[in-house]
């Protein structure tokens, strides 16, 4: 038997919708196998993982808290990847956004006004965008691969953050813990209701709406699509690839920066050495699971947030390692990519009848 691909003449609408669903089903099946191998009842483990987070108000709120940064970053990355610009340094842009946004509450700690938060958010977005401008500049000016430069900058950003919270911005009354002073009042994201859900999720939804309009209705979105699909045709249309590189990297960097300041001014309430459980990387999965479509990203962000919460729950209830969630996320991305093959190709299994006769020539 041999597996071969037959190219479809057009992409399959059905598979475009079905491929993420199929990928999730396959991931759940793989998850069941992993749990069974660990000696757990796969059904109850899967229940804890994927269903329980949605059964209590508290955990739904936690899902939304985690979904907000994932959606913000994932939506930006989806536009980036659409343009064939591979920003994988969102984690670094998130970190720099958090740092830049924290400037006001730490340096002018007594300033309390609704404007405080607005300035913080703007500076967060600018910080992320400025950090993403580095790979954009290096790509356009020196043709340096943005994948590698943006990723290297993640490590650098984390070291800068580490230095800042241990050094200049350390809370003088913090018993030498590596953290800044705690934010208060208008330095914090307002919460929705009593729980921990903050306005970050609203910002995320707004971003999704704007990017949906951008990609489906505007000439800019069309430029991004054309440059990503066929750069030569883009040049023929009079679109500039360099401008698109700038635009998409600044956009995704800005959104990642916004997510960063949202974390610091939200659940965390202060700068710490670790401000994100890898949101910037998980958002790559969110972007692909969402089919590089901002609305898809909305659902995908919630889905991935569930695996975080489910992972925590499973660790407490079942003693499952918290690494399992990361494995799930990796497996999910694999299956999404594999299922996406079905959008452009039909998969056929050929019985290998040709093989036995190889190299038969006239005697």
């Amino acid at each position: 038997m041999k597996l071969v691909l037959d190219k479809r003449s057009e992409h399959s609408e059905l598979m475009t919708l079905m491929s993420p669903v199929l990928a999730i089903v396959l991931t759940v099946i793989t998850g069941a196998i992993i749990f069974a191998v660990q000696g757990l009842n796969p059904f109850s483990a899967l229940f804890v993982y994927f269903v329980e987070p949605l059964t209590s108000l508290w955990s739904i709120e936690e899902v939304l808290v985690k979904a907000a940064p994932l959606i913000l970053i994932g939506a930006g990355l989806s536009v980036c990847y659409m343009a064939n610009v591979w920003n994988i340094g969102a984690e670094g842009q998130l970190t720099m956004g958090a740092l830049a946004g924290s400037f006001v509450p730490i340096v002018f700690s007594s300033w309390q006004s609704p404007l405080t938060l607005v300035v913080m958010l703007i500076m967060g977005a600018l910080g992320g965008a400025a950090f993403a401008a580095i790979p954009a500049f290096l790509k356009n000016r020196f043709n340096a691969n943005e994948i590698l430069t943006s990723l290297m900058l993640v490590y650098i950003a984390q070291l800068i953050l580490d230095w800042v919270v241990r050094g200049p911005w350390r809370d003088p009354k913090g018993f030498n813990f590596p953290q800044s002073i705690s934010f208060e009042g208008w330095q914090l994201m307002p919460t929705l209701g009593e729980g921990r859900v903050h306005i970050g999720i609203i910002l995320a939804v707004i971003a999704v709406v704007i990017l949906t309009i951008l990609m489906s209705r505007t000439l800019k979105g069309f430029e991004i699509l054309v440059i990503g699909n066929a750069p030569r045709a883009g040049r023929f249309a009079g679109f500039s690839r360099k401008k698109i590189v700038w635009f998409t990297l600044l956009l995704s960097g800005g959104l990642a920066g916004l997510a960063g300041i949202g974390e610091v001014a939200g659940p965390s309430g202060q700068l710490q050495t670790a401000i994100s459980p890898g949101y910037g990387f998980t958002a790559i999965i969110v972007a692909f699971l969402g089919r590089l479509n901002p609305i898809g990203v909305l659902f995908a962000g919630v889905m991935l947030a569930i695996t975080y919460i489910g992972g925590e729950a499973a660790q407490i209830d079942l003693g499952v390692s918290d690494k399992t969630a990361q494995v799930f996320q990796g497996v999910l991305l694999f299956f999404i990519l594999a299922c996406d093959t079905l959008i452009l190709y039909r998969i056929k299994l050929l019985a290998s009848k040709i093989k036995p006769q190889q190299h038969v020539a006239a005697e």
Binding site: N145, G330, F334
Partner: protein, 306 residues
Amino acid sequence: MGGTEAIILTIITASTPLLLAAIGELVTERSGVLNLGVEGMMVMGAVCGFGAAYTTGSPYLGILAGIAGGMFMAFMFAVMTQTLATNQVATGLALTLLGLGLSGLIGESFVGLPGAKLEQISIPFLSTIPFIGPILFGQDILVYISIALVFATTYVLFKTRVGLIIRSVGDNHNSAHALGYNVIAVRYACILFGGACSGLSGAYLSLAYTPQWIENMTAGRGWIALALVVFSTWLPKRLAIGAYLFGAVWIMGLYVQAQGFGIPSQFLSSLPYLVTIIALVIISGNKTLTRVNTPACIGQTFVPDR
């Protein structure tokens, strides 16, 4: 042992994992495949290598397990990108994310355990020569293997028919297919070789560099290896020079840190990543250096017509 000698020895130790992983990726890329999952394959090699060495007490079995771990990941990448024609960039990212997660899960019970360290192989007599003895003839087996790989890949790629076929597939897969070469099979082989080298590199980290298992212990070395391949303009010997220069920068950073000149340690720790960016900028900006050796088909999906 003099100070200079000690520094050179540590530089070799720091460079070897980069060299091992990068040489494998160089061959993969020469066949026209961009595997961004080096970090993931490496970290799997590290955890498998440590686990096998710890369980059996033999670092050599650890090496084999490391190779197997890297190849297992590479095989998944090959099935995805070659058989299912998935996007190589995205699949490589997936491989890294999965490798980091999976290694953490597998290695959870190994954290804090003392590992089995790979012994130095001292070549009798020669290794007693002052200064150059320990440097040239007192290394562990993986250092020798990494050097041998540089010469072997140079020879195979540029002096043998196998190498000619690999380069032809990387240059123009449609022509290679038209002449009857099995592009996908060649690429499978090169991807698996890359996986084996990455696994070896990971095993070096957990068996020789720091003989223990630490989560995410590759610390971005896989990505630096990828940058080194670009820096080398796909030439193995230039790659070796790059890897050693790089190891030197890394160790100098640590050395300066130990001396404590009042420079924040975070700055020195970020040096390797900064240097990587600078190296990429220097090489990528130079069109004449990159154009000729860059495999023309790199990263492109190939689906044969039937």
